[in-house]
């Protein structure tokens, strides 16, 4: 059921462009055909992983790992992320394993336009988030 839904969403997305004309490339990214990998043109470094289950459509982007965070500023960064969660439009910070992520969740009944809007905002938010959080990250080597 959710696999079919994911395949349908991928098809719909492949035929769409973002509002600023950017193209999307989409591929299945695991052996079980349950995670789609969406890349926004020119922003391939931060792919968006999309999954569908009965409860929600999840769009997840990895920001950086624990190893990139300045250990002295880690608590401060976590608090900043918590406080920003409400303010960031449609996306929220979280953590999977030792990786910080930004994600958005939609109803499985969301339209393709809503999904596109979500992807566009998430992609913008990721760039903003990394720029903002860079003060908590280790200095570039």
């Amino acid at each position: 059921m959710s696999k079919l839904k994911l395949e349908q969403l991928m098809k719909d997305l492949a035929n769409s462009k973002l509002a600023d004309g950017m193209h999307l490339s989409i591929e299945m990214f695991d052996g079980e055909d349950s995670v789609a990998c969406i890349k926004v043109e020119d922003r391939e470094e931060f792919p968006i992983y999309m999954t569908v289950d009965d409860g929600q459509i999840l769009c997840i982007t990895y920001l950086f790992g624990d190893d990139q965070v300045n250990p002295e500023k880690q608590a401060e960064m976590a608090e900043a992320m918590l406080m920003m969660n409400v303010m960031v439009p449609l996306s929220a910070f979280s953590k999977i394993g030792n990786q910080y992520i930004l994600f958005g969740a939609l109803s499985p009944r969301a339209s393709i336009e809503e999904l596109l809007h979500e992807i566009e905002l998430l992609s913008d938010n990721v760039l903003d988030a990394i720029a903002t959080m860079s003060t908590y990250l280790k200095e570039a080597a």
Binding site: I60, Q68, G97
Partner: protein, 231 residues
């Protein structure tokens, strides 16, 4: 323990394993087991409810039956009294007292069943909600695990190493550079278009005779000769 705290245990457990699996597979197995147990308990509760409801119906019939019998015998007692047969009336009255005694007992049991059924129904609704919540949570935990695997796969494809992701700030710089380049390109394209547009305008002005069309070597020479003549 609430479902949230169980999930946090599962996720935390996994996170400590050197960043490999995001969820402690053991915790997920336990959650899955609990979900199965809850579903089994729900099935049992539903069977239980059906049995109790059947028993309640039987009791209800018995109570109604007793009420009918009491009314019936009250009629007999009145008829016996009408016929001045006090002995018979007393016997019937005794019978009625027996029925009423039985009715009090059965009605008490029936009332007990009613509250039992209400309680069971409430419990079943609660269990169903819990199961739905558990199902959702476990599904999200499993999903994030799949995403984690996909990301490791992607990282391995990009850098040939499955642990070291590219530095986020470096990636951001690269994206910004690309964006700048794209903007520069489109700005250059606009400039070029404008210049071409201006060239076109010059040509049209010349054609219209507004701008000197014969700005050639000979016309320059003529002009210089005139200047020399004046001097």
């Amino acid at each position: 323990m609430s479902i949230f705290s169980k999930i946090i245990t599962a996720v935390r457990g996994g996170a400590t394993e050197a960043g490999q699996a995001i969820v402690d597979t053991q915790s997920i197995r336990i959650l899955d087991q609990e979900l199965r147990d809850s579903k089994a308990a729900l099935k049992d509760a539903k069977t239980n409810l059906t049995t109790i409801m059947a028993e309640q119906m039987a009791l209800d019939r018995k109570v109604k039956d007793l009420n009918t019998k009491i009314k019936e015998h009250e009629g007999y007692a009145i008829q016996a009294m009408d016929k001045n047969d006090d002995d018979l009336a007393l016997d019937v009255a005794n019978k009625i007292a027996d029925f009423e005694h039985e009715l009090t007992i059965q009605q008490g049991i029936l009332d007990g069943y009613d509250s039992k059924i209400t309680g069971l129904k409430k419990m079943i609704r609660q269990t169903e909600r819990n199961i739905q919540a558990m199902d959702r949570e476990i599904s999200v935990v499993k999903t994030t695990e799949k995403v984690q695997k996909a990301n490791e796969l992607a990282a391995a494809k990009f850098s040939g190493s499955n642990s070291a992701l590219n530095k986020a700030t470096d990636s951001l710089e690269r994206i910004k550079e690309r964006q700048q380049k794209r903007e520069d390109q489109s700005a250059a394209a606009v400039e070029l278009e404008t210049e071409e547009g201006e060239g076109d305008l010059q040509a049209r002005l010349k054609k219209a005779g507004i701008v000197d069309s014969a700005s050639s070597a000979s016309s320059v020479l003529d002009r210089l000769k005139k200047q020399k003549g004046k001097g």
